[in-house]
Amino acid sequence: MKIFPFLAFAGGIFALSHQTAFANDDKTALIEEGRYLAAASDCAACHSIKNKPEYSGGVSFTLPIGIIHSTNITPDVEHGIGKYTEAEFGRALREGIRQDGSTLYPAMPYPSYARLTDHDVHALYAYFHEGVSAAAIPTPENGIRWPFSMRWPLMFWRWAFSPAPAKAQEKTLHEFADAQMARGAYLVEGPAHCGACHSPRGLTMQEKALTASDGTSYLAGGAMIDGWIPTSLRQENRTGLGRWSEQDIVDFLKTGRNMQGESFGAMTSAIVHGTQHLTESDLHAMAKYLRALQPFDQTQPNWVYDPTATNALHKADVSARGAKLYVDNCAACHRTDGKGYPPVFPPLAGNPVVMGKDPASLVHVVQAGATLPKTEAAPSAFTMPDFMHRMNDQQVADVVTFIRHAWGNNASAVSAEDVAKLRKAMPPRNMADGDISLN
């Protein structure tokens, strides 16, 4: 008789420990799922600084309303989100409401995160509380001017434009019969928050459309961010993704480069922290969804390669405006035929960035240079030097005009005054932060 309770006890322990192990496996899987979602949501791009603990915040953003800083989202109780319950966490994420009831600046893309499912919020909560190490680092004071230094007016902003999470989820999940398309829509409109940069914004900075169903302005190209113009991700033939294949989009998100173009500016960080970590199947879903977005601008004639400029350069005829500068500075990598050497050096012929109405990105790449993101699948971080010291404003205007005119690009000319103005708004030069590509 004595042996029974002992056995029962032992059995109890066994069952208990077994259960614990099981729970741990589940928990580990949930945390891993959260880690994946955090990458898909590109949290690190804004909340992590190199050489500081992961997700400890402090990244500063210069917005029209002033300078703001990203917050510490590690589980630190004092400086981070350690005290947030899952419900509070979800509210911040999806509705932009902090634990104390005040409103987050919409630099935090909660209008997009509103689409996150409860399950995904659950996974993210698990990850940010148990998968990330706490870091006791205070968030810097925001240098924001009055009246915007008061947070309450943003409440109205939020009420007006932020969709209620349930409604938002419904919208994304229900519009697609095809499961892959639905998954793509969820990722693009939700966690990946592509629209935060690539959708045009209204007067109070709200995105004009938050989903494909809100109209064709969704992802039709955004306003300048840090000197870069986010292009349209819709199907415009010249200035959108009209000529990118599904594989082109997947390659771009995975490696920052494809046969059509290369990443620069803020997108590089989105790829490094975010999209490169996504599965092939999720990337294909996103690509498929993007390829289904009808053009916003229905008037664009198809781009057709025009060999006139190429033929002239091959005959050493450099009489066109900017042609000699192109030969002297650009052709080494981008070729006299403008086709570049993709995916290593991008084509300029037919490149949406080149043909955009606003030449800011093109001018800024010439002035500041660019470094390709180093990703797991493509570790070579090719670097274009800056040409600001080799070319003056007039020369930059001339060479950019040549690039915008040649090979069928047929985009408008750029003046020295435009270039001078852009020089003042120039993003930091390549590697100016000391982050040197060592490839």
């Binding site: 350069l313 091959h314 050493a316 000699k324 030969v327 002297d328 500075n329 052709a331 080494a332 070729r335 006299t336 030097p385 800056d386 600001m388 010291h389 080799r390 070319m391 003056n392 020369q395 030069r429 590697m431 100016a432 000391g434 040197i436």
Partner: protein, 236 residues
């Protein structure tokens, strides 16, 4: 201390290029944003040597012009700024022999075992010029720069042939140093103070820093069609 090339922790191109020119003040003081304009502005001022004394500089100008004279083929050392180039180089790490092995003992041996003197380029010039000026005064009663071309050529021929000793320095060693630096000054990128107006490159048909021949790999014996461009973007 010789100026060092910027390291990887300071990658900004301005400080990088500053190191190249060999002038420590140029880029910092002038604050130029555009290389070619800055260099052109610099070129307008008459060059003031910083390493050589005015007498030494006169010698370098005269001797390099004899080695690389202005003629039917094009500009000579004087027109190309070779003396300026050499003066700037003497202030660079090279002038200080920064990557030469300079540990004692210094034992002289057969010529084919290479340079064995305890002198870096700055020493070679100072001692070499002093020695050659003394030799010239002894032979001709005046300074090298004041001699007529044939007499200068005669002295340089003797120097090259090894029949002149310049105190601590074999004449031939000094001659080779001078000849090498002259050719460098005639044909290096203008960033270093020589090859003014890309005159050296124009003579040879060398296209400079464009560095792209994808369309011109094999033209079946035709000349390459474009003129030269320098690192700063100067063209000719």
């Amino acid at each position: 201390m010789p100026p060092k090339e910027p390291t990887l922790t300071r990658p900004l191109r301005r400080s990088f290029v500053k190191g190249l020119l060999g002038s420590t003040s140029f880029w910092m003081v002038s604050g130029h944003s555009h290389w070619a304009e800055a260099l052109a502005q610099e070129a307008q001022k008459p060059y003031q040597p910083t390493f050589f004394t005015p007498e030494e500089y006169r010698f370098v100008e005269a001797a390099t012009e004899r080695l690389f004279p202005q003629d039917q083929h094009g500009p000579g050392a004087r027109g190309l700024g070779v003396a300026e180039f050499i003066d700037r180089q003497m202030e660079s790490p090279y002038g200080h022999g920064d990557n030469w092995y300079m540990s004692a003992p210094f034992v002289q041996g057969p010529a084919n075992l290479g340079y064995q003197l305890p002198f870096v380029p700055r020493d070679l010039y100072q001692k070499g010029i002093a020695g050659l000026e003394a030799y010239t005064r002894q032979q001709h009663g005046k300074s090298f720069a004041d001699l007529r071309a044939p007499a200068q050529e005669q002295i340089l021929t003797a120097l090259e042939g090894g029949s002149v000793s310049l105190g601590d320095i074999p004449g031939r060693v000094f001659f080779e140093q001078l000849r090498t630096n002259t050719m460098e000054g005639a044909f290096a990128d203008p960033l270093y103070g020589g090859n003014k107006g890309l005159g050296g490159w124009l003579m040879l048909g060398f296209p400079g820093a464009r560095a792209d021949f994808m369309d011109w790999v094999n033209q079946d014996g035709e000349a390459y069609p474009f003129g030269p461009i320098s690192i700063s973007g100067e063209t000719a």
